[in-house]
Every structure is written in C-alpha cells, then in structure tokens.
C-alpha cells in the first residue's frame, strides 16, 4: 500500500496543508481559514486533503504540524498558567524572576518567587544542601498566592541537576512542575525564563492539541500526530505538550526547510515574504542556521536555539505612508478588502507592485494607484536586495529562494542573480513540516585533554539515539556541531552541542 505524509501549518490566519508521497513530492495541497479551535481547523484541512486527493486515510503514515499557536498565546498573554518561581541558591540573586518582562505578560504569568537553600558551584560542590523543609513551605506559600504550577531553577543545574531532581521527588504528584535543567542550558535568568514560559504554555497547548490524534482517528487515520520543533525535527505529541517552548519558532524553521527543499538545495538563503513581514534565513546542510545572539520571544530573553532570522517589516499587506515609507503596519489578512486595488482605501505594497506593472492579480483595479509608485517600489526592491546581499556574506549560498504568500509580487524582479521561486512556494511552511526529520541533540561538556575521542563518542551516541527514535539508518548524519571553550574554568572544559538527524 502506498503511504503518504501530511504536513500542516496552523497559523494565526490560515491553515495550510500538503500531502506528500514517499519521494517527498507534493501530491495535493489545501488552505483553510484558521478556526476558533485548533481541532476544527485541523479536521477541516485534513478532510479537504483526503477528499481532493482521493486517497484512503489508512494510507497516511504520519501527520506533522508546525504552528504559531504557542507564540500567539504568549504575544496575547492569553490562556497561560499562573506560575510560582523557586530558586535553589544560597542567597537570593539580586535580579528578581521575571525581570524586564513585558508588564502584561508578567502580571498574567508570575505570581511570586521564593529562594530555597541549594545550588552548586561550577566544579560540582554543593553551595548548600537542598533545604527540603523550606522547599515544601515555599511551594505552599506560592500556591496560596495563586500559583497553578511551580518552576525550579537551581544555580548550575544544567551541569548538576541532582537537586532539581530531588525537588521533583518531594513535590506533590498532582502539582504541575517544571525543572529548569530539563528545558534549557547555561545562563540562569534565560533558563528560568524559558522554564516559566514552558510551564505556562502547557495548558494552552493541551487545549489546542491534546485531542488531535483522536480527531485524526475519527477521520479514519491511524497514524501518529507529531509537532515540529525549533530545529526542524519532529516531537511526539506528548513531548510537545510537555515542552511547548520547543515549538515556538517551528513555523519559521519549516518555511526555511520547505523552501530549500522545494528548490532542491541544501545550502541556500530562504526569503519568506508574508503579509506583514519578510523573514530571511540561512540553510546549512538542509537545516536552518541557529542564532547565537540573545533570543527573545515576546520580549522575554530565552535560552534555546532559534533560527538565525533577519526580519524586515515589509510584506504584501504593508501600508504605504504618505511620505513613501513602507510598513511596519500592515493590513495583514484583510488585503482583499482594504487594499486600494481591491476597492479599499489603504495603499499597500501590493498596490504599488501592481501599479508598476510588476505583478498581476485578477480583480485588481490599478487605476487608483499614485504616480510615485515606481520610486516606492524601487526603494523596497533595493532594501530587500541589500538585506539579501548582507545575509549572503555570512554563508555558503547556492541559491536565493523566495517563498510565502508575497513571493509572487517579486516574480519578475531580480532581487539576486540566483533567485528562484519554486512551485508550491506559498505552502513552503506546510511542506517543511511534512519533511521534518527525527533528530537527537546532545548538549554536554568535554574536557580539554583527549577532546577528539570524547567528540567521537558523543557523535556516535547522538547517531544511535536518533536511530532509536526512528531516524533512518540510511540518512542519519550529524547535522550540527558546536564547541564553545570555557575560559577561566578549571579542567580546560568546553561545551559541545551535537545534533544528529535522519
């Protein structure tokens, strides 16, 4: 029986889906409006695909989903669980939990913080033994303040997680708990922030996605449902519900991976032109390059790798001001009612491109567009071309690939000599989700002596672990390796992050 995979992108406005065959070819695609509940939109798009392709639901071997659902919940501060933060340290650090968070998010999420004796030094000595009695009292106090879940962050816990594990053993089993060492790495504040966001998002993820496997079942499918994660590989639904932070930048990642694959290129620049913004990302060996700069989600400094993205406030729906500047405001999904060319009263980038004879859209009336359109269009083109040239400087790049709803606006414009708009560019995000591989990442420390041997051992472990998770032994390979030497640390240590995927 021929089997297929479905990739779905659930965005704020639209839900896109593709059906791909074993050769990773797109057999069918669909687009519906994102509904009030994630479940309904999921069922809609699934049924549309099944109906249009005519294939039998039992032929679907996997459903892979990329979504901005969690990110949107953060940005709107809606549906989030209230959290109490506990710090394991000898004395309370001078920077409070939630420092510099956007006010609305802070008020919604964090009910309070407590410091309990504990924590480790860089060489593994306990700064203080864990004060178990005070811990339970602290949890009680936070619960009285309204905490629905507790996050524990211990000093140096990513290297020495034992105290945090002890907290789990002591904590009442029905109290939602998140250990910072489970979620992220070095950098106390960023790790604490990531853990708090993670626990806070669990409810909204559960509400949206918990029953998707059931719903898929009702449609006749008996395959697993996965969510895609920030590094472009899949997460079991159960893991995604426990670690929502791992899905926060999956949508962008999927667009980049999907775009590169559509153009059959593993080292490329992908330019995703949407309704409100354009995101430029670098693909290296088929995976998006990770950002090493401080990553910030919704104004909160976090501690996980996210795609290295250059974002410009230029999109198809960007509003053109009277002085000729384009964006950052945009009409977004209301393009077809608000833009000048569709009879609306707002001048958008789409109108400008049409006026220059650059793009053609059915039902559009170009007579209402101003004469400086050519100059405005030239500026936008120059801005994009410059951003692309700058991004090209820092990578090995065979092609520049345009994807996204706004890509068609630039069809005949040479933003770059190697530019390409592949077929199905508008559903690159859903395609990227469909392609998501199985991966395993090891993030650990090695010592300076005997470094090569240790690295080989870690690589082998990563490859084996990926295979155990389901990666194909034929395609499994090391896709990322990063070594960061520690300075001043005793033992000539370095931190190593290795990812294998297939």
């Amino acid at each position: 029986m021929v089997s297929y995979i479905i990739g779905i992108d659930i965005g704020g406005t639209h839900t896109d889906a593709v059906l791909i065959d074993a050769m990773e070819k797109i057999v069918c695609h669909a687009k519906v409006c994102t509904t009030e509940t994630v479940e309904m939109g999921f069922v809609n798009v699934l049924q549309t695909l099944l109906h249009e392709s005519g294939i039998h639901p039992k032929q679907i071997s996997a459903i892979k989903i990329g979504t901005t659902h969690a990110t949107n919940a953060l940005l709107q501060a809606k549906g989030l669980m209230r959290i109490g933060a506990i710090r394991l340290a000898a004395e309370n650090p001078l920077i409070p939990a939630g420092f510099n968070w956007p006010e609305k998010l802070l008020e919604t999420v964090l009910v309070g913080e407590e410091c309990v004796a504990g924590g480790y030094e860089c060489d593994g000595r306990e700064t203080r033994p864990l004060d178990e009695k005070k811990l339970l009292l602290a949890i009680g106090r936070l619960q009285e303040k309204g905490a629905e879940g507790i996050v524990v962050t211990g000093v140096f816990s990513p290297l020495y997680p034992e105290q945090e594990h002890r907290v789990r053993a002591l904590c009442p089993a029905d109290l939602p708990l998140c250990l910072s060492s489970d979620v992220s790495g070095m950098g106390f504040l960023e790790r604490e922030n990531t853990a708090i966001l993670n626990l806070s998002l669990q409810r909204v993820m559960r509400q949206g996605f918990e029953r998707l496997e059931e719903k898929a079942h009702e449609c006749g499918c008996d395959c697993p449902v996965y969510l895609t994660q920030n590094n472009g590989s899949i997460l079991l639904l159960a893991d995604a519900l426990r670690y929502p932070v791992k899905t926060l930048s999956a949508g962008q990642t999927n667009s980049f991976i999907g775009g590169a694959k559509l153009a059959a290129c593993s080292d490329a620049l992908v330019v995703d032109i949407g309704g409100t913004s354009t995101d430029i990302g670098v693909i290296r060996s088929g995976f998006p390059r990770q950002s090493l700069a401080q990553v910030d989600i919704g104004g909160v400094a976090v501690n996980f790798a996210a795609p290295d993205v250059q974002s410009l406030s230029i999109g198809g729906g960007s509003i053109v001001q009277t002085d000729g500047t384009v964006g950052p405001e945009s009409v977004g999904r209301e393009l077809k009612s608000k833009a000048n060319c569709f009879g609306g009263s707002t001048l958008t980038l789409t109108d400008i491109m049409l006026a220059c004879g650059i793009a053609l859209i059915a039902q559009a009336d170009i007579s209402r567009i101003p004469k400086q359109a050519t100059k405005i269009a030239a500026n936008v083109i120059q801005t994009l071309a410059r951003a692309i040239a700058k991004a090209k400087n820092s990578c090995v790049c065979e092609k520049v690939i345009l994807v996204g709803g706004g890509s068609q606006l630039f069809k005949d414009i040479p933003l770059d000599p190697s530019m390409e708009i592949p077929p199905f560019a508008e559903v690159a995000n859903a395609y990227g989700a469909a392609l998501a591989e199985v991966s395993h990442t090891i993030d650990t420390t090695i010592s300076g002596e005997d470094r090569q041997n240790q690295l080989c051992e870690i690589e082998t472990s990563a490859l084996l672990a990926a295979i155990e998770k389901g990666a194909s032994p034929d395609t499994v390979r090391i896709v990322a390796q990063e070594i960061m030497p520690y300075h001043y640390m005793p033992g000539l240590r370095a931190r190593v992050v290795v990812t294998a995927a297939g």
Binding site: A89, A90, E91, N92, P93, L94, I95, P96, F99, N100, E121, C122, D123, R125, T127, V155, F156, M186, G187, F188, L189, L292, Q294, K390, N393, S394, C395, G448, P485, Y486, H487, Y488, M489, P490, L492
Partner: protein, 342 residues
C-alpha cells in the same frame, strides 16, 4: 558635566565599556541588568569628578574576579558588597567618605561599582585604573604610579571575606585568584585603595562618562544609518580599518586565558589573549597594544568580545588610540605588544 548615572545611561555604558574592553572584559549583560534592578530600587548613582575629591576621601577600586561563564549562573546576592565594605570599614576611620571606582572600565566590570553604590548610597568616581581592559592585575596605572595594592579585600556571595596584606602585586594576583576559585570562581575584589590626594594624581580620569559617550555616539550613528565605526574613528582620532567577514576563529583556553587568533576576509589577522592585542593587515603590523582594537557587529555597532567572535559574522574593525598613560616609556614597558608571549 554628568552629575549622576541614570537607567538610560546603562545601555550606552554597555556599548562603550565593550569597546574600551578591546575584545576582553566579559560581556556586560548580566551586570547591566543587576545595575538596572538596583537603580530601580534605590535611584540614580551620584557621579563624582576627580577634581571634587577631598584629600581625606577613600577611593576604592572594585571589580569581580573569576570565570566569565560563571557570571551567568552565579548572580551576585549583594552580600559580596556588604561583606567587602564592612570588612574594609574596620580599617578606616568612620568619618572618611568612601568613593567607589571601577578598577577597569573595559567590559562588564564598568558596572560593578555602580550597583554597589546604588545599594549602599555611595558615590562613584568618574575614573578607572586602566582606561581599557588588560589580562593581568599588574597592568594598571596605579601600579605604574607606585601605589600599593594592599590591603586588598575579597568577598563572596555568602558574605565571606578575606583581607590580603600582600604588597607584591604578582603575589597578590596569585593569592586572589586562588581564593576566588575556592569561592566558586567568582568574587568581588577591592585593591589599590587610595586617598583622594593620591587618586588625584594617579587615576585615569573621565572613564565612565567617556564610555557612556561612546555608547551614545554608536547609538546615534546607527539610528542615522551611518557607520558607527566611521563615527568613532572620526571623533576619537582612530582608524576604521575595514568592514569584512570573520573567516577563521582559532582559540583555546591556556592557564585561564583565551588565547588565539581571528582572521577577517583572509587578509586581516587579530591576535588575542582575552583582549585583542595585535592587528596585522596583509602581513603588516597595523595596530598593537596598548592601542584599542575593537570589533563591532556590522550594522548594530555592538562590540564583540574575543569569546563571541564566530565564523561568518560581518564586522567593522576599528582601532582607537591608547589611553595616554600607556603611551609613556614606562607604560609601554608594561603593556606594549612585545610583552605578550604568543
């Protein structure tokens, strides 16, 4: 003349201190946040000029010693400062005014006296002891001027403190480092304490306001879409050497120092021992310690430390003149580029 440091100055200070750090000194982010948190609680910090010092004032240079990586886990508790100050007060007449000062303006330690000052209601002196950052303790204008480093004080986040009566600065460095390691590789240190009179002759003046001004210029240039490296070279009589991309990074940790080199665009080479100390352009020596050699991230003007440099990063290389104290014969003997073993 700036009379106080306020929250809005902190982002500028982070940039300026990073640039004066010449690639070293550690990234200032965590220190910046602590200072911000304490300023919100206690208010702005009074900034004093050297000319306003009374001969009887006690100027206390402070800095954190230890592993920069540890800094992002072991956040100060405030007790380091409390213990340090209460220990040194045992040796000082109670009516002497204490004025804090950054021991080094280059890098994260530019902020150290600020949050302590906010917490304890003390003023900070607009000065430092180096004018930039250097890898070793003896590389200080105060050493050059013959000021004794002792008694020195060292304290940790648990409130434990030591007093070190060690006159020889090399021996003091060894002891202080080993105590800092026993304290978890992060400790607050005060050394080269001096009277207002000696400080008047010996310190490098205007360091904090200069760092803030540098940061402000970079921000202004970036907003006006000018190249911040160009702007800095213009204002401070430096040189915007090149704009390019980092193509090779080779470094490792040796005896606690990050040593190695960076190659930009194949023809520009930077050598480092924590700080960038040497620059070669097409094989020719183009800048060397004690001149400041700074890498800025292209576009944002954000200074990049030697530890943050990576392949593919687009950068602006700018060199700035050495602080005047280091352009003397004695200064060059201590920190000129021949001194550093490659």
């Amino acid at each position: 003349m700036k009379k106080e440091i306020v929250e809005e100055d902190l982002a500028h200070l982070a940039i300026g201190a990073g640039i004066l750090g010449s690639g070293g000194g550690g990234a200032p982010l965590y220190n910046q946040r602590i200072t911000q948190a304490l300023m919100r609680k206690h208010g702005p910090v009074p900034l004093m000029q050297v000319d306003d010092l009374l001969p009887s004032d006690l100027v206390v240079p402070v800095a954190f010693m230890g592993a920069p990586l540890v800094a992002c886990e072991k956040i100060p508790t405030g007790k380091e400062a409390d213990a340090l100050l209460s220990t040194l007060r045992e040796f000082v007449e109670s009516d002497r005014r204490i004025v804090l000062m950054p021991a080094e303006i280059g890098g994260a330690n530019a902020f150290t006296p600020l949050w302590i000052a906010a917490r304890h209601g003390l003023p900070v002196l607009d000065a430092d002891s180096i004018g930039r950052a250097f890898p070793e303790l003896p590389m200080s204008a105060l050493h050059l001027r013959g000021i004794s480093p002792a008694p020195a004080y060292i304290a940790d986040g648990l409130g434990q403190a030591h007093t070190l009566h060690i006159e020889n600065v090399h021996e003091l460095e060894k002891s202080a480092r080993s105590i800092a390691i026993s304290m978890g590789s992060r400790a607050l240190v005060a050394l080269y304490l001096m009277s207002g009179m000696r400080a008047f002759e010996a310190v490098v003046r205007g360091s904090l306001s200069k760092a803030i001004e540098i940061g402000r210029l970079v921000e202004e240039a970036t907003l006006a879409k000018q190249n911040p490296a160009e702007k800095l070279a213009q204002v401070y009589q430096g040189k915007h050497v090149a704009t390019g991309v980092i193509r090779r990074v080779e470094h490792g940790v040796e005896k606690g120092f990050l040593k190695g080199k960076i190659v930009i665009d194949d023809h520009i080479e930077l050598q480092m021992i924590n700080e960038f100390l040497l620059c070669r352009y097409q094989g020719e020596l183009c800048a060397a310690s004690p001149e400041l050699i700074c890498l800025l991230e292209e576009g944002s003007g954000k200074p990049i430390t030697s530890a943050e440099a990576r392949w593919g990063l687009a950068v602006d290389l700018v060199t700035l003149p050495a602080p005047p104290i280091w352009r003397t014969k004695e200064g060059m003997a201590l920190v000129g580029e021949e001194i550093f073993t490659w």
